[in-house]
Point group: C2
Chain length 146, copies 2
């Protein structure tokens, strides 16, 4: 059981590293390879939810195009809880871009991914990204350093 | 395995019903009984994260006090994926209050809970609530009807 758990944690960590590398490379196919077909995603911007991998792909394509320079996309404070065939992970995301002058424009969001293992491969079946908001102003809070 | 899964899904659904009833009753102890001691929560408002049940309790106490009337707190589109000792659930939350004149003031958020089973009891080890935001204005979007 402990070996299973350690193996699953290592596999999830590897999947997340591949995914963030694909985001930084603006590699849409590489990103989408990590999702289960039935994924339901609660993304940080614009819509309440994206149901199914095709709907999420269309949204992700827009997001990858929107990086204003060289992407920054890093996971911090990663924690993974895994069993043999199911896992969840939480992390903070440092996300933004470096412009041609080398200046960084970054913000922070929070991320949760819920994963299932199918035919030996881990896939994200649900994910949730967000920034908290101020209930007085309704402004999203993206400029905090956690 | 299928029986385990069905039992776990029913147990998670029961836990979520108890939790939402406790929120509507503004019963802080009833709410907090659902969390694991090590819970890390990404709530919809104010802070990036709350680490541990005591930090989250202080925040939850403020939130329960802030309902301006009789609370509305309903889960919609609930989906649960469960194994024997781990589960995750996603849902949309219709949240607000009814004032003395019977007028509803409600908004929608998204919720994800990640659960573990310990000594026969399900507990929320991680949760994530949020509203999406508009990247142009940075305004949180809480007035959509999903």
């Amino acid at each position: 059981m402990e070996t299973h758990t350690a193996n699953a944690q290592a596999a999830i960590q590897g999947m997340l590293e591949n995914w963030t590398a694909a985001v930084r490379a603006q590699d849409l196919d590489g990103v989408m390879a990590h999702f289960a077909p039935e994924v339901v995603a609660f993304d940080a911007i614009l819509q309440f939810q994206f149901k199914g991998v095709e709907a999420y792909r269309a949204h992700y394509a827009e997001c990858l195009r929107a990086f204003p320079g060289t992407p920054i996309f890093e996971l911090h404070e990663l924690a993974i809880v895994a069993e043999e065939n199911m896992a969840f992970a939480r992390f903070l995301v440092r996300c933004g871009a470096v412009d041609e002058a080398g200046k960084e424009d970054v913000g922070w969001t929070r991320g949760t991914v819920c994963c299932v293992k199918r035919d030996g491969e881990w896939r994200v079946a649900h994910e949730h990204f967000s920034a908290p908001f101020d209930p007085e102003t309704l402004n999203a809070i993206v400029n905090l350093t956690p």
